[in-house]
Structures are given as C-alpha cells and as structure tokens.
Symmetry: C2
Amino acid sequence: MARLPIYLRALTVLVERGIGTCSSEDLATATGVNSAKLRKDLSYLGSYGTRGVGYDVDYLRYQIAREIGVTQDWPVVIVGIGNLGNALANYSGFRSRGFRVVALLDAAPERHDEAVAGLEVRPFDDLEEIVAAESVSIGVIATPAVAAQDVADRMVAAGVTSILNFAPTVLSVPEGVDVRKVDLSIELQILAYHEQRKAAPDADLGHATDQEVIA
Amino acid sequence: MARLPIYLRALTVLVERGIGTCSSEDLATATGVNSAKLRKDLSYLGSYGTRGVGYDVDYLRYQIAREIGVTQDWPVVIVGIGNLGNALANYSGFRSRGFRVVALLDAAPERHDEAVAGLEVRPFDDLEEIVAAESVSIGVIATPAVAAQDVADRMVAAGVTSILNFAPTVLSVPEGVDVRKVDLSIELQILAYHEQRKAAPDADLGHATDQEVIA
DNA sequence: AGGAGTTTGTGAACGGAAGAACAAAACGAG
DNA sequence: CTCGTTTTGTTCTTCCGTTCACAAACTCCT
C-alpha cells in the first residue's frame, strides 16, 4: 500500500514526542485519512492493535518499517548530477529513512571528481561496476529527458530493478522492473487545472463556440 | 483528470516531430495507458477526433492545454531556497509549460539578495506584497518540515489557493485550497516495498513469530 | 465481579474507475 | 455509388478501493 510510508512518518513523530499509544482515530487525523481505511490498512499487516486501547506506537512503527522493508538500508545510485541531482544527493531525508546514496554518476566529464554531498561524482560508465559491487537494486534518474531512456536501459541491464524517474519521459522497461515517476511540471499543471476551475465555474462555454469554428 | 498533462506532453513531442495526425492507439502506447481509457478521457473534453482518421495533433494539443489552463502563464512563488528550492528555481521545465516563477522567498537573512536563477532571494515577509502585486495563486513550499505549516498558513492568508508541498508533512488548509504533496522519501519507500517482495516472495512467515513474542 | 465506555477488526453496501466490446461515422478503392 | 476498412465515441460489465456500521474485545470504575 502507498499509504504505509505516511503512517510510518506520523508514527515516528509520535515516538519523538514520547507518545506510547495511539488510537486509529489519532493516526487518521494526523495523516489525513479515514480511520476505517487506516484500520483496514493496518489489519492487512496483521492484528497489531488492542481493542479498547489502540496501537502501541513503537511496536506498530517497527512492524510498518519491516513491512515496507526499511529496517535495513537500501543502497541507491543517482544518475544526473545537475540542479536536481545535486539537491537529491544533499537531501538528508533519504539517509534517515532507510536509504544510502552510494554513488553519484554523470555523463559530463567536467563534473567528474567534483565533490557533492561528500561523494565524488563518477563517470556514468562506472554504473555496472558500482551496481555489482554494492548490490544496488534502486536507481534514481535525474537527467534531461532525452538521456533518461538510455540510462534506464543501462540500469536494468546492470541489475537495477526499481527506478525513480525525475525526467519528464515515459520510460519503457521490461517486466519485473518497477518505475515510479515524479514530474514537477505535471504536479503544477494539475494545480493549474483546479485553479482555473475555481476562477471560472462555467468555463465550459468556450468549448461550444470553439467547436463551431472547426465544424 | 490527472492524465491530461501526460497527453499534453506526448502531443508536444509529436508536434515537434512534425506529425499532424495520430490515433488513440498511437497516443496510448506513447503515454503508456489503455487506448479505451484515453479515448474516454478525451471525449470528456468534447468530440475532437475524426472517426476513421484519428486526432489532429495540433488542435488536440491546444484543446488539452486550454482545458488544463496553461494557455497563459501562471505566476508562482517558491518559498525555501535550500538545495531543493534552488533546483526548482533553475528548472526550465516550469517556464516552458505555462508557469512563471515571480519570486523566491526565504526566511534566512543570509540568503537574501543572493541571485538564484536570475532572481533575487527576498525575505519571507514580502510574501503578502508579492502575492497581491502579481496576483499569485500558486505557491511552492520547499522548506524544512517544521516550517511548512506556518508557510502554508501565511500563503493561504495572503490569497494563495493552490500549494505544491515538498516538505514531508501533512498540511492542513481550509476548504477551497488545493494541496499536492511530493515526498521523495515516500517514493523510494514504495519502491523498497516492492523490491523487498521481489527478493523474498514468502516474507510473511516473519509475522507470526513476531506476534508470538508480543503475545 | 459486573457494567459502562472505548476502540479494534471486519462484513456489507456503495461508488467510481478500468477494460471489453460494439455501433456510428469517416475515408478510399473499385 | 457502394462496399470494406479504420477509428472514434459510448455502453455495459467487472472489479477494486472506500466508507459505513456493528460485533468482539479490552479497560476502568464502582
């Protein structure tokens, strides 16, 4: 389930506040979901609550972390150290949430040997060697769109089976490889869409006239 | 619909290639969706295709752009010019897809007057003035998690009605304000979840034993 | 010990999205 | 002009996720 990481984060906050127990209602309001949905999500993992009491925060947090698979660290490579790649390399949230950036790769020679976030930027051709040496199964693509498919192909060939893609392209990968896409423009466009609807509730009138022009 | 921007991008590629007409099947494979679903999405906008022929690429592209609301530019403010804010400010994709970054704000005085992507970083307290002057309705939050809710409150009070939030927090906003969240760690955790399932198909055995420990 | 008050876990109803399938419409060939 | 081919627009069915509602279970107070 895609909501497990959200619960995990909320539980971590509760742990830091020293709260030992919480009800499904508490967690639901903290994460912005329906409490029945939350209970059903959790019950899918097993029966970790106590009726009349709630959930043990620490224990539930560990169970969710184990279910997601972030009880141990996952090695990650980042390809494309431009503005975005730089930001990702410096993002401390990865480290604290079960991921370890083991290498930064870039095709441009002028970036090589530069130090970013305490790591040296290495040639893209080192990909296969690094993936094999560190048993990397997760790759992050932060290159321009034109390079993304090539990078993905090389990653898959090297043994990467999960890809987080920031390039604005649809990647095609073989069966068994997972791809998740983060597209900043698309997020803004979705907001613009709703924004437009707020501004002009009856904006549909434009359609008919435009249709007539064509017809 | 959240898929409209994807279609828009694919159509832009087709325009650049000089392709004048395409079928729903073409667009579907290019965007990775089912062709029936695509046709249903498009028919929701109006009847813009020709049976036996397909869709006029240029015309359809314009119609989708108009539906999304990106035929004219939307002014956007970015708050929090750290690593990520920097990358966002420099991202050229916003400009070419209907968005114009009008201001960069940061609470830290040592960042003020610094030039980022051709814009001066200004104090966060200038928010209200800028939002009013430029009629900004979309704000981007790239601050640390602890500051995000305060920034959101100020944005909403100033008149912003759509927020793109990169901080790993659940924002609470009044009715009528849209929030979209981009959380990098969550994306990686979802990949890790699937990755774990690939590695150990019967990892569920662990549950029962752990339950016994508690019980 | 028993009853009142909570809270979980889940069965059942609901809604909406996704895919299959087909009729209507346009084009081109003969 | 008619027939066959292509492709859209739409209907119908299926399925999945969400929500409601309630019984089971646990705690606390008397």
